[in-house]
């Protein structure tokens, strides 16, 4: 891809993102579409997020318990698991799963609508495709990913608890006390801001890639792949930048 095409793509992406956001503030509102998308993105992803998060929490707890027991610090397992999950791993893991399930779905659905002339049909009928298709998806991702992250965090902590108590033979009371200790504003805020940004990034990138689909089945495959790859890269980059900013804003010394 040459520089001119890249700049043009970026410009189109920014424009679509802005129009998608503005669509939520201007009539007509497509409430039914938002609910449908929230159901698909939220309720539909519930099980997979819980499952993945549970095992992430278990693996993390296992690794930490093994390492900390060597140092005689097993009682800190809950604390380290709690901080890692709430501030970092929970939001990122949920966002990556969300990208794989919802982001790819958005890109392929919109791409298939483009190829099947359904988007052109909307334009012919005088319906703004951004408002009708992009805004509901952006809103649903923006609202549902934080909720799913919260549920995923809880599942991870539960997984960590299982390993700490039944495998590492620690006290359940100590584990939950340590977790409660890390549930302070700074940590919770730090972990709660990220999913909103990730939700916006995943939905806007996926919608853009879907709507710019060209060239039949191969084009659809390519746009779906690009949506997932670009979303994953942006999640990781944004996570680093957000972590840096939040640590600074919340007064943590590095």
């Amino acid at each position: 891809m040459n520089a001119k095409a890249l700049i043009s793509d970026l410009q189109d992406y920014y424009l679509l993102s802005i129009q998608g956001i503005l669509g939520a503030l201007q009539r007509p509102f497509y409430g039914k579409d938002v609910i449908e998308q929230m159901d698909y993105a939220g309720a539909g992803s519930f099980f997979i997020i819980v499952l993945v998060s549970l095992f992430v929490g278990m693996a993390l707890s296992l690794q930490l318990a093994a390492e900390l027991s060597v140092l005689g610090l097993k009682m800190y397992t809950g604390k380290v698991v709690g901080i890692s999950i709430i501030r970092e791993i929970g939001p990122v893991a949920a966002a990556l799963v969300f990208t794989g399930r919802v982001g790819s779905g958005m890109a392929s659905e919109l791409g298939s609508m483009v190829l099947g002339h359904q988007v052109d049909t909307l334009r012919v009928f005088g319906v703004d495709p951004v408002k009708k298709l992009v805004t509901p998806r952006m809103l649903s991702a923006f609202l549902m990913l934080p909720a799913l992250t919260l549920i995923g965090d809880a599942a991870s902590l539960l997984g960590g608890y299982y390993i700490a108590v039944f495998v590492s033979h620690q006290s359940g009371y100590v584990y939950w006390s340590s977790v409660r200790e890390v549930l302070i504003f700074e940590n919770v805020f730090s972990g709660s801001v990220k999913p909103f940004i990730f939700g916006f990034l995943i939905s806007s990138i996926s919608c853009y890639m879907g709507l710019s689909t060209k060239g039949g089945a191969i084009g659809l495959r390519s746009s779906t792949t690009r949506a997932v790859v670009a979303s994953i890269i942006m999640i990781i980059v944004a996570d680093f930048l957000l972590t840096r900013i939040l640590l600074y804003v919340l007064g943590f010394s590095v």
């Binding site: 007509p28 298939s112 609508m113 099947g116 002339h117 359904q118 052109d120 049909t121 334009r123 012919v124 009928f125 005088g126 319906v127 703004d128």
Partner: protein
């Protein structure tokens, strides 16, 4: 009603239309013929303002639409009713919801009235029995019919635009779609049909334009088409002769 003035259009640096000029009056029944990738569908999209030409002007009722915004194009688009190839029905909506889409979007009709209107439109295109089916449950012919009903619900058009309305259909269904196209044009409403099926084109149209290599190679009536000596057109006409020979046998 429609004027193309020196229109050029390229896609991915490939020039699809090279300096195309023609005009279409209201009520005309036109068929654009040509092979795949010759720009037939592109012409329909240009008329609807869905894509913009690289150069040249497109006038609809005297107004140049090439520099109009999406919002300004709405009135222009309402003059036409377009049926895309394979119907382009919304996958997630059933037949009733597809046809009711524009009624819900633009009118404040009560639900009973919408249902009545939908039934009436589906009756017009003879697919009332499919009202509760999903698009994937429809046959190719039913797909096109529902798409025509949906486009009628959207607007009271001056002209119909059909993109390959009979492609992929068996001869009986293709013939039924041709009859429907003629029925809808009875009260002086013209249409443009783009197709590579010359047999269907001669059934419905009075004027024929043949696209080849980005240019209009023929613009004439049925006689002009049937007696054209251009080799590319001859190849197309062979389908017609073959069908005729079969009938004689």
């Amino acid at each position: 009603m429609i004027v193309f003035d020196a229109v050029r259009f390229s896609y991915n640096s490939r020039e699809i239309l090279k300096d195309i000029s023609f005009s279409v009056g209201a009520g005309e029944r036109i068929a654009f013929l040509g092979g795949s990738g010759e720009g037939k569908t592109t012409i329909l999209k240009l008329i609807m303002g869905l894509i913009r030409p690289d150069s040249g002007r497109i006038l609809i009722d005297g107004e140049d639409i090439t520099c109009k915004t999406e919002a300004q194009l709405r009135d222009t688009r309402m003059k036409f009713s377009i049926v895309f190839q394979e119907g382009a029905l919304f996958d997630s909506l059933n037949v009733k919801e597809n046809v009711a889409f524009c009624l819900r979007e633009y009118t404040k009709m009560p639900e009973e009235q919408i249902e009545e209107k939908v039934k009436e439109l589906l009756r017009t295109v003879d697919v009332e029995r499919a009202i509760d089916l999903m698009p994937e449950e429809l046959s190719g012919g039913m797909h096109r019919r529902v798409a025509i009903a949906r486009s009628l619900a959207a607007t009271d058009p001056k002209m119909f635009l059909y993109d390959e309305p009979t492609s992929g259909l068996d001869p009986v269904n293709a013939d039924n779609i041709c009859k429907l196209i003629l029925d809808l044009s009875r009260n002086g409403k013209g249409f443009i049909i783009v197709t590579h099926k010359v047999f269907d084109a001669v059934k419905v149209a009075d004027r024929f334009m043949f696209l080849y290599d980005g240019r209009v190679r023929l613009d004439g009536n049925r006689e002009d088409l049937l007696h054209a000596t251009i080799p590319e057109i001859q190849i197309f006409l062979s389908e017609l002769r073959y069908t005729q020979e079969e009938k004689n046998v």
